[in-house]
């Protein structure tokens, strides 16, 4: 049982430390990504996705 206690304790501690770093990195960097996303969306005149459109037409023809 001692082994399990140490294992879960270590897992929790290590995960919390790494997660704290990840949260800081994503929180700060995410703002730049949001800006880029809006820039990219502003540039899309018609964003019709592939959505199997060609296949749709192919199937409806056959």
């Amino acid at each position: 049982m001692e082994g399990w206690i140490n294992f879960w304790g270590a897992l929790l501690l290590v995960t919390l430390v790494i997660y704290t770093v990840l949260v800081l990195y994503v929180s700060l960097g995410g703002v730049a990504d949001i800006r880029n996303m809006f820039k990219s969306l502003s540039g899309n005149e018609n964003s019709e996705d592939s959505d199997s459109q060609e296949l749709d037409e192919e199937i409806s023809e056959s």
Binding site: W4, W8, V26, G30, D33, M37, I59
Partner: protein, 512 residues
């Protein structure tokens, strides 16, 4: 006993957050020009935002509730769920298993993959219907879990909670209908930041107040060995741990909401990076709430094993509705004014972000994979967006009704795993064999889908209807045994049927 520290300042923080989400919905609507923008944000998602939105939508209030409940009812043994989820996501990130070929194909939904791979519109429609039905059933208790949380942390009565929940679901509908995936991503990001900081701080405060050694001793007194070793814990064991690993793979690579994120990524490289980093998030989304659940367990035990969480003999309550309440009540007593408001706002944000993701996901599946393929003429983008919005409203109405009258009868996590299994057992077989086995056929895919629906037997009310409860208890068969067996049979059936009834046409694309 149910009195909490929740004050007017905390209500103000929550209200400010809710108002902010409305503003986001109105603001991003200007960027939505087509279905691609509405459903996958024009495929413009980059790594850091991808990680935030992936963790944000998965670290929902419902996840926090069922994970905390597992921590409360099984102690540290519950940590194996997070560990398995993290390992599974890491493997998917390193190998690109399922998600990379899906992204390469440029599909938006999994049923769309069925059609592209097998060139069968009927398969897409049937698959889409099963996916949406199982998905909507799966989120059927989200509202109930949210209501339990709000009443537990704020201490308000049940009637008031119903109104609060209704307002929240209306707000979710409002900004999701307007902004689609773009507003979902932004709200996910905000929720990720607020909730992550709130939860990390909660862990620190809880350990400081209770103490690590008190926690370990408390769990040992209540559950002995079973509170630490998942292989010997009651209702867990080796097969349950295997089921958790399988669910870990499913939730990141087969579950439609995660696949939607992968499909919204800018490139295959971003998909892999997203999964590598998100593996930590997939683990933490269980670990932190489970840890808070454990803290709640020891806290209430040290208070004298108080009711309703413990019975007269000092044993942990077996009523799932009661154990689900332990975490929010504990938070309401532990956290100081202000921080309580931030954590509550983060959790409510999590509740809303899970709802927006799932509502958008299932309504888009119904539009794109069921109604649009059934229509004699291809629907216009405008008509598809309007229909998706109509489905959003209809599903929300269903959730309100279902969430009020369904009797849980089992842990929330097990309910969610089984209801999801109705879809994913079949879908896993189709994705696995469809992507990595040339000879997979349409007939084989249909057989996997239909066999997958047998997973519904894992739900307690269905077992009661079929008079199977006693039989399963006598034989020691749990819902995880049913899920694993059905998954295995679905893969096997698809292989056998594909070999006996192969497709006539040669495949023109290489899907490997």
């Amino acid at each position: 006993m149910l009195e909490t520290n929740f004050s007017n300042i905390d209500w103000f923080i929550v209200a400010a957050y809710l108002a902010g989400t409305v503003v986001i919905g109105l603001w991003v609507n200007r960027y939505i020009k087509g279905m691609g923008d509405f459903l996958v944000a024009g495929r413009s998602l980059r790594t850091r935002l991808g990680i935030a939105t992936m963790i944000g939508s998965e670290l929902g209030l419902v996840t926090a509730m069922f994970a905390a409940q597992k921590g409360f009812t099984t102690g540290f043994s519950a940590f194996h769920i997070g560990l398995m989820a993290g390992i599974a996501t890491l493997i998917v990130g390193v190998t690109g298993f399922i998600v990379v070929p899906l992204r390469r194909m440029g599909v938006m939904t999994i049923p769309e993959f069925y059609e592209k791979r097998f060139r069968s519109r009927s398969l897409r429609i049937v698959g889409g219907f099963i996916l949406a039905a199982a998905g909507i059933l799966n989120m059927g208790l989200f509202l109930k879990a949210g209501a339990v949380f709000v009443s537990g942390i704020t201490g308000i009565d049940d009637d008031a909670v119903k109104w609060v929940m209704t307002v929240m679901i209306v707000l979710v509908l409002f900004y999701t209908c307007l902004g689609g995936m773009v507003s979902v991503i932004i709200t996910d990001y905000v929720q990720f930041v607020v909730l992550s900081f709130g939860l990390l701080l909660t862990c620190v405060i809880a350990v400081k107040k209770i103490g690590w050694s008190t926690l370990v001793n408390g769990v040992e007194k209540i559950y002995s060995d079973q509170g630490f070793n998942p292989l010997v814990a009651e209702g867990v064991g080796g097969s349950y741990v295997s089921w958790m690993f399988f669910l870990g793979v499913i939730s990141c690579a087969v579950w439609q909401t995660a696949v939607m994120r992968a499909c919204a990524a800018e490139s295959v490289a971003v998909v892999k990076k997203m999964y590598l980093w998100s593996s930590l998030g997939f683990m933490i989304r269980f670990l932190i709430p489970q840890f808070i659940g454990i803290c709640a367990l020891v806290y209430f035990y040290d208070m004298g094993a108080v009711g309703p969480f413990f019975d007269g003999q000092g044993k942990v309550s077996t009523d799932p509705d009661v154990t689900m309440k332990a975490m929010p009540v504990f938070l309401g007593k532990l956290l100081p004014v202000g921080l309580l408001g931030i954590v509550a706002a983060g959790m409510i944000a999590a509740f809303m972000s899970t709802h927006d993701t799932y509502l958008l996901c299932w309504s888009s599946v119904l539009t794109e994979d069921v109604v649009n393929p059934l229509a004699s003429k291809r629907m216009s983008q405008r008509a598809r967006i309007v229909l998706t919005r109509a489905f959003l409203v209809m599903i929300a109405i269903f959730l309100v009704i279902w969430g009020l009258w369904y009797d849980l009868g089992q842990d929330l996590w097990d309910y969610m795993a089984v209801s999801g299994a109705i879809y994913f057992t079949g879908a896993f077989a189709i994705l696995l064999l469809g992507l990595y086995w040339e000879r997979a056929s349409t007939a084989g895919a249909f057989s996997a889908l239909f066999i997958g629906t047998l997973a519904v037997i894992g739900l307690k009310p269905v077992q009661e209807k079929l008079n199977l409860v006693d039989y399963f208890q006598e034989k020691g068969i749990g819902s995880h045994h049913i899920g694993l067996t059905v998954s295995f049979i679905a893969v096997l059936a698809m292989m056998v049927v594909s070999l006996t009834i192969p497709d006539k046409k040669e495949r023109t694309e290489n899907f490997n």
